[in-house]
C-alpha cells in the first residue's frame, strides 16, 4: 500500500535524487543511468534516511544487479544499479550499517566492494570460495 504524501517525489527531486521514481510492488524504484552509490548515500544520510539493505540479483549475462534500499519517513526507496565487472564502491565508511551487508553480498555473489578496510568473511570461513549463491548449476 502506497502511503506516501502527494509531494513525495518532489521531495526526492529537491534532494537531488532524480525525478524518475515509480511506486511498484512495495517500494519506490529508480534506475539512474549511472548510480553514484557514495554520492547517493551522502544525500540519503543528509535526509536522515535509514539504510535498510542491499539486494543482489544475478542477471542472465552474469552481471549482478544491486538494489540499494533506504527507508525515508516510512517509505522504502530502491536505487537500482549494476556492478561493473562485479566491482562497486563501498559505502561502509559513510554508512556503517552497510558493513555486514557488503560482506555478505561479496560471499554470496562475488561482488567486490572497493575501498573496504575489513574484508573478513561474515557467513563463510576465510579462504572459502566466494559467490556461493550464483546459479552455477545452470551452466552444467
Amino acid at each position: 500500500m502506497n502511503t506516501a504524501p502527494d509531494n513525495f517525489v518532489q521531495t526526492l527531486q529537491d534532494a537531488g535524487l532524480g525525478s524518475e521514481w515509480e511506486w511498484k510492488f512495495g517500494s519506490w524504484w529508480t534506475t539512474p543511468q549511472a548510480l553514484d552509490v557514495r554520492a547517493t548515500t551522502m544525500k540519503m544520510l543528509a535526509l536522515n534516511a535509514r539504510f535498510v539493505a542491499i539486494s543482489a540479483t544475478e542477471q542472465p549475462d552474469k552481471e549482478i544487479r544491486l538494489h540499494y534500499q533506504w527507508d525515508l519517513n516510512g517509505q522504502l526507496l530502491s536505487f537500482v544499479t549494476a556492478t561493473l565487472a562485479q566491482r562497486i564502491a563501498s559505502i561502509t565508511d559513510l554508512c556503517p550499517a552497510a558493513d555486514w551487508v557488503e560482506r555478505e553480498t561479496r560471499e554470496y555473489f562475488a561482488v567486490e566492494f572497493t575501498g573496504r578496510k575489513n574484508t573478513k568473511s561474515l557467513m563463510t570461513r576465510d579462504g572459502d570460495p566466494i559467490g556461493i549463491n550464483l546459479h552455477k548449476e545452470v551452466e552444467k
Binding site: F25, G26, N48, T57, L76, I132
Partner: protein
C-alpha cells in the same frame, strides 16, 4: 596489558552458536570481534530452487521463534506480484497470530534477560506466561512452533472460537500488569542491575541501521506497523513505546510495554474479527506469478524483516532476499559492550534480543 577471551562458538549464556572474541583491559571490555555463520543454511539459495508453495514451508524454518513472520512476509511479497489480495478476515487472523508470536518472543526474551540479571523467579514467571501464549497458538494452528498459517492469498486456518483466545488474553493481561510490569518498570534490584549499562546512543542506533525494540529503546521510534501499515494494523489502535536512554533497562521497559500494546491489539482484532472467507481462490494453488520484483516489510518481534522476491514468470522464484532484524542489530553489540565490565557483557548481548538462526539463515 590487554588480553582476549574467546566466548563460543556455543555461547554459555545465550545457548546459541556464535563466537565473540572479547578484548579486555583488566575487567573492562576494550573491543569485541563477532564471528557468525555457524547456523548458515543457505536459505536464500534453497528458496530459489523451490516453487512458491514449497518456499512458504522453507522460509518458515528461517527462525524457530518468529517463524510466522517469515511465511507472512514471503506470502505478502508474492501476493503483490500475483495481485491475490487476502480477504479482510485473513488480514485480522494474520494480525492475531503475529501479535501472539510477538508476545511469546518477548516473554522468551524477558525470561532470558531475567535469568542473566539473576532474577530467576521472573524467569520462571515469564516462561509460565509464555506457555499460555503457546497454548493459544496451538489452539489456533495446531502447532507450537511452525504454525503453517499463511498461504498466498490468505491463511490456512480459521479462528473458530475467538472467545477462547480472549479468555487466555484476560489471564495474560492480568499477569503482565501484576507480575511483569512491576518488576521490569519499578523493581530497584532490576533497575540497579540494568540502568546505565550497555548504552547504545540514538546516533549509534541510526548509524548502524538498528531496528525494532533495540532501536526504540535508543530513541529511534520506527515501527513498520505504524509507518507502512500492512494487514489490518491501520484499523487498530496502539502505541509504539519509545525510550531514550538506550541502556539495558530501556530495552526491558520497551519490551514490557510492547507486551501491553500487543494485548491491546489482540483484544481489538479478536473483537472485530470480520465474517467472511479466509483466503482467495488463488490460494488453492491456481495462480501465476508474473515477472517482476516485489518487496514487503513486516515488523517481527525483533524489528523489521524485509523480503524481496524477483519472479521470472516461472513457478520458481529467480531471487529470494531475506534481511532479518538481528542481521542489523547484532553489529551494535560491539558498540554496547565497549567500556563495560566483562561480567556485564552476557546481559548486554542478550539485551539486544539476538537470533542467530535469523541472522545466519
Amino acid at each position: 596489558m590487554s588480553y582476549s577471551i574467546p566466548i563460543g562458538p556455543y555461547h554459555p549464556a545465550l545457548e546459541e552458536p556464535y563466537k565473540l572474541e572479547v578484548i579486555c583491559d583488566g575487567g573492562v571490555v576494550s573491543d569485541a570481534i563477532m564471528n557468525l555463520g555457524f547456523n548458515f543454511r543457505g536459505i536464500e539459495y534453497l528458496a530459489e530452487r523451490r516453487n512458491y508453495l514449497q518456499g512458504i514451508t522453507l522460509v518458515e524454518r528461517v527462525c524457530g521463534i518468529c517463524s510466522n513472520v517469515h511465511s507472512l512476509s514471503y506470502c505478502r511479497t508474492v501476493e503483490q506480484l500475483t495481485g491475490a489480495e487476502p480477504p479482510e478476515r485473513a488480514h485480522y487472523i494474520r494480525v492475531i497470530v503475529a501479535e501472539l508470536e510477538r508476545l511469546h518472543s518477548h516473554f522468551l526474551w524477558s525470561g532470558t534477560a531475567a535469568k542473566l540479571i539473576g532474577f530467576k523467579t521472573i524467569f520462571m514467571a515469564c516462561f509460565t506466561l509464555r506457555e499460555k501464549v503457546m497454548d493459544a497458538l496451538s489452539t489456533i494452528s495446531g502447532n507450537r512452533v511452525n504454525y503453517g498459517m499463511n498461504c498466498i492469498g490468505g491463511v490456512n486456518r480459521d479462528i473458530a472460537d475467538p472467545k477462547a483466545i480472549l479468555n487466555i488474553l484476560d489471564e495474560l493481561e492480568s499477569d503482565i500488569s501484576h507480575v511483569v510490569l512491576p518488576i521490569f518498570l519499578h523493581d530497584k534490584s532490576v533497575e540497579s542491575r540494568c540502568k546505565g549499562i550497555g548504552i547504545l546512543t540514538t546516533e549509534q542506533a541510526k548509524a548502524m541501521g538498528a531496528v525494532g525494540p533495540l532501536a526504540r529503546a535508543s530513541g529511534v521510534g520506527q515501527d513498520i506497523r505504524k509507518s507502512a501499515p500492512y494487514c489490518a494494523y491501520d484499523r487498530l489502535e496502539f502505541n509504539v513505546p519509545v525510550e531514550t536512554t538506550g541502556d539495558v533497562r530501556a530495552r526491558l521497559v520497551v519490551h514490557a510495554l510492547e507486551m501491553v500494546e500487543s494485548c491491546r491489539i489482540l483484544r481489538q482484532a479478536l473483537s472485530k474479527l470480520p465474517e467472511g472467507p479466509i483466503h482467495t481462490k488463488t490460494s488453492a494453488g491456481r495462480f501465476k506469478v508474473p515477472a517482476g520484483t516485489a518487496i514487503s516489510r513486516t515488523e517481527a518481534p525483533r524489528g523489521e524483516v524485509l523480503y524481496e522476491i524477483t519472479s521470472n514468470g516461472t513457478d520458481i522464484p529467480e531471487r529470494v532476499r531475506v534481511r532479518t532484524p538481528t542481521f542489523m542489530n547484532m553489529a551494535t553489540v560491539r558498540l554496547a559492550v565497549i567500556g563495560q565490565e566483562l561480567a556485564d557483557s552476557p546481559l548486554i548481548q542478550a539485551s539486544c534480543d539476538p537470533c542467530y538462526s535469523c541472522t545466519d539463515r
